[in-house]
């Protein structure tokens, strides 16, 4: 296996955010002698109530643009901030809202990486004559000899970042061979600590803006209030049912609940149960929220749709591997069986409590990302 290192002088666009990781990525590329161009995308954010305020998507708030520009200047590279609001809205935010309408809990980062970073931005990078697009992600790419009779002489592998705590390969599983052939992740070879040291050595700011679990395009409140404002008709109140099908309360709209949730369930006192109840499922056909006991929660077997395999080819037989059902979930052993129509069945050795329709399942062979898809059904 070979680590992917293009020759000095190669033109590389680096996606800059003003943060430590992408700044260090840019500095490393400059140090290695590449012809580096920094680009920051302006992404859509919910318009704020006050007039005249600039876009404040967290990825590209005005301060972040100023930081990225200053860093580009320090590194002596050209820098552009490019408007991508409408493509981001169209490919990331709107499908995310639609998925909520279908009682799923979607992860918008997949579409962002696929359509915005490695679609829109990659295209801009190529238009500027760049051979590669680099980002500050914690992941790695290497090559192994391709199987006989393949189109390309090598196969690109997407690997976890060296720093297990920071690994971001989960959100990059949407990439394919052509994307990886044109991608560089300079930070993936290092731990976060080391990246911070590098930032100090390069004289780059190391202070990080507060990390937030919220989605980058939310500007006020949480995703629930966002949905109420932006898509009021996706949330329709309906019944809360127990596993026997009895109505035991009312929910305010399925998008406001997620599998495994316990708090905030409006359940009639008379049906007060001895044991706490958890959300087991969101039944969009009946607009019902199904709740049950902790021991009813979780599943071993999932159906996954829209499977994407990094190699470009689905395995021909069931594979024993590990998989994550959420970004922050623990990897667990399973058997993945490719099905027709881009689906797959995944059978875990142990019950997975957090598996939620709409979230991504990503499968690994050791450090290598096999691929992933969207959880369609849990049983």
């Amino acid at each position: 296996m070979t680590v992917h290192l293009p020759p000095a002088g190669t033109r590389v666009v680096v996606a800059m955010s003003g943060g430590v990781d992408s700044s260090v990525a840019a500095a490393l590329l400059v140090e290695r002698g590449y012809d580096v161009i920094g680009i920051m995308l302006r992404l859509w954010a919910e318009p704020s109530q006050g007039q005249g305020k600039e876009n404040s998507n967290r990825c590209c708030a005005p301060e972040a643009v100023a930081d990225a520009r200053a860093i580009a200047r320090q590194l002596g590279i050209p820098f552009y901030d490019i408007h991508a609001e409408s493509v981001f809205k169209q490919h990331v935010v709107d499908p995310w809202i639609t998925a909520y309408g279908e009682a799923a809990t979607p992860n918008p980062c997949f579409n962002c990486n696929r359509f915005i970073r490695f679609g829109f931005l990659m295209q801009r990078a190529r238009a500027l004559g760049a051979a590669y697009l680099a980002t500050g992600h914690y992941a790695r790419i290497d090559t192994v000899p391709a199987e006989p009779r393949s189109e390309l002489p090598v196969r690109y592998r997407l690997l976890k970042g060296v720093d297990a705590k920071k690994d971001q390969s989960y959100v990059l599983h949407v990439l394919g061979q052509r994307d990886l052939a044109r991608a560089l992740f300079p930070c993936g070879e290092f731990t976060k600590e080391h990246v911070r040291d590098l930032a100090r050595r390069f004289g780059l700011p190391v202070a990080e803006r507060a990390e937030s679990q919220d989605l980058c395009f939310l500007t006020q409140g949480d995703y629930r209030s966002f949905l109420v404002r932006q898509a009021p008709d996706v949330a329709v109140p309906g019944p809360i049912l127990n596993t026997r099908g009895e109505v035991i309360g009312r929910h305010e709209g399925l998008p406001f609940y997620t599998v495994g949730q316990r708090r905030g369930l409006d359940i009639a006192p008379k049906s007060a149960h001895a044991e706490p109840l958890y959300v087991l499922r969101l039944d969009s056909a009946r607009n019902a929220l199904i709740v049950g006991r902790a021991d009813e929660l979780g599943t071993r077997r999932l159906t996954v749709r829209s499977m994407h395999y990094v190699s470009g080819k689905a395995p021909t037989a069931p594979v024993r591997c590990t998989a994550k059902v959420r970004y922050k979930a623990r990897e667990a052993s399973c058997v993945l069986t490719p099905l027709e129509n881009g689906a797959a069945q995944v059978e875990f050795d142990e019950v997975q409590r957090d598996a939620t329709p709409g979230q991504g399942l990503v499968a690994y062979d050791g450090d290598e990302v096999i691929g992933g898809g969207i959880i369609a059904r849990t049983e």
Binding site: R11, E31, G76, P78, A84, V87, F88, Q123, A127, L128
Partner: protein
């Protein structure tokens, strides 16, 4: 750590701004240091500044065929356009003379946005005339649009995006006969064309110093004697009560010197630039497939070449050229990720798959044949590269 390779840089965006001429810098210098007085002050410091300001009015007036008292220094070209349009409109309102204004969709935003505000907030009615495929307003259309309640016509002398010259004298003559105030935005012109307010028959005219080798942040508004005018920058009695605010004396001095400088340079520069421009246009059309000139083929600013390239997003092309060290500009705005065609090109009837790819290459006094050699080497490759990337998935 910093990249230091001496990259070739070619500036071909003189329509956006120009470097300040050394004699202009020199003339301004004392008024930034020793002679710092406020021209409105009574004392000697003030008198020194006032004398310089008087002189700047005289020189500027002379350069434009106007009287010193008809010249108002402003904070920029945009401000001059704003003051002209509001000043004339509000004066007409004050005297109940009508509320109809005629202009064109190809005007600079300094004009169109101001007119839209007069329309939306102040109840004026604005007719935006059609333009032909070269961006030209037909004087007959102006004539037909004139009504009894028309108070103001605003048509630019030369278009910043496509370089086309408008038939100003003809429109001016017609307006004067009808007693309608005529404003022209001549911001793009002084460095390359002679300007005489009498020949042009204008009542109001906006200029901007940084477009003719003067400093940024200084504009000129010409107000013909007797033109009804209500000041919209109100305060003290500066500039004869037409534009309140302590005058930028150094800027006014620099502007006057810059006007003298360009008047002297123009005669040799204009034909030289025209030759370079024509060479550039021929070279680009020969080397780039699916390319056209936008604007008038020859009735245009001598330093100004503008093109449209089918299927190319102008902003991306601009970046690709910048990466090669070539500084130019586009008229198409990309404000949201889906490139929007330029309103000027659309008004000219250019189809939108061409109107995204507007490119303006504006030459200046320092442009050389070698600069154009470099552009003619790089531009065809950049266009091809952008087209290739855009057609990939």
């Amino acid at each position: 750590m910093t990249k230091t390779s001496a990259r070739r840089r070619v500036y071909l965006d003189y329509s956006a701004t120009t470097p300040v001429a050394p004699e202009v810098v020199q003339a301004m210098q004392p008024y930034l240091t020793d002679l710092f007085g406020n021209a409105a002050s009574l004392h000697e410091f003030g008198r020194e500044a006032a004398a310089a300001l008087d002189e700047a009015h005289i020189v500027t007036g002379c350069a434009l065929g106007a009287r010193a008292s008809e010249i108002v220094f402003t904070g920029c070209g945009t401000e001059a356009d704003n003051l002209a349009l509001r000043g004339a409109a509000f004066a007409a309102r004050q005297h109940g003379r009508g509320d109809h204004i005629i202009s064109a969709p190809t005007e600079h935003h300094a004009v169109t946005s101001t007119l839209e505000q007069l329309q939306q907030l102040f109840g004026f009615e604005v007719t935006f005339l059609p333009v032909d495929g070269c961006g030209r307003v037909d004087p007959d259309d102006v004539k037909r649009a004139l009504r009894r309640n028309t108070i103001l016509v605003s048509i630019m002398m030369a278009n910043n995006e496509i370089g086309t010259l408008e038939p100003i004298a003809e429109i001016g003559h017609m307006c004067r006969e009808r007693g309608v105030i005529f404003h022209t935005d001549a911001v793009q012109c002084p460095a390359y064309l002679p300007i005489d307010v009498e020949a042009l028959q204008v009542d109001l005219m906006a200029l901007s110093s940084h477009k003719f080798y003067g400093p940024k942040g200084v504009g000129i508004l010409y107000i013909r004697e007797g033109t009804p005018f209500v000041p919209t920058l109100t305060g003290g009695g500066h500039e004869r009560g037409r534009r309140a605010g302590t005058v930028n004396v150094a800027g006014a001095v620099g502007t006057a010197v810059a006007l003298e400088y360009v008047a002297q340079q123009r005669e040799t520069q204009a034909p030289r630039l025209q030759r370079l421009r024509d060479r550039l246009i021929e070279g680009v059309l020969a080397a780039v497939p699916d390319a056209r000139v936008s604007g008038h083929p020859h009735n245009r600013l001598p330093h100004h070449a503008s093109f449209v390239f089918k299927g190319v997003d102008g902003e991306t092309l601009l970046m690709a050229l910048d990466v090669e060290g070539i500084a130019v500009s586009t008229g198409s705005a990309c404000t949201s990720g889906n490139p929007e065609p330029s309103p000027v090109l659309l008004a000219m009837g250019i189809p939108s798959e061409w109107a995204l790819g507007g490119l303006r290459i504006s030459l200046g006094y320092h442009t050389s044949d070698e600069d154009l050699d470099y552009v003619l080497e790089k531009l065809p490759r950049c266009v091809a590269q952008v087209r290739r990337a855009m057609s990939e998935l």
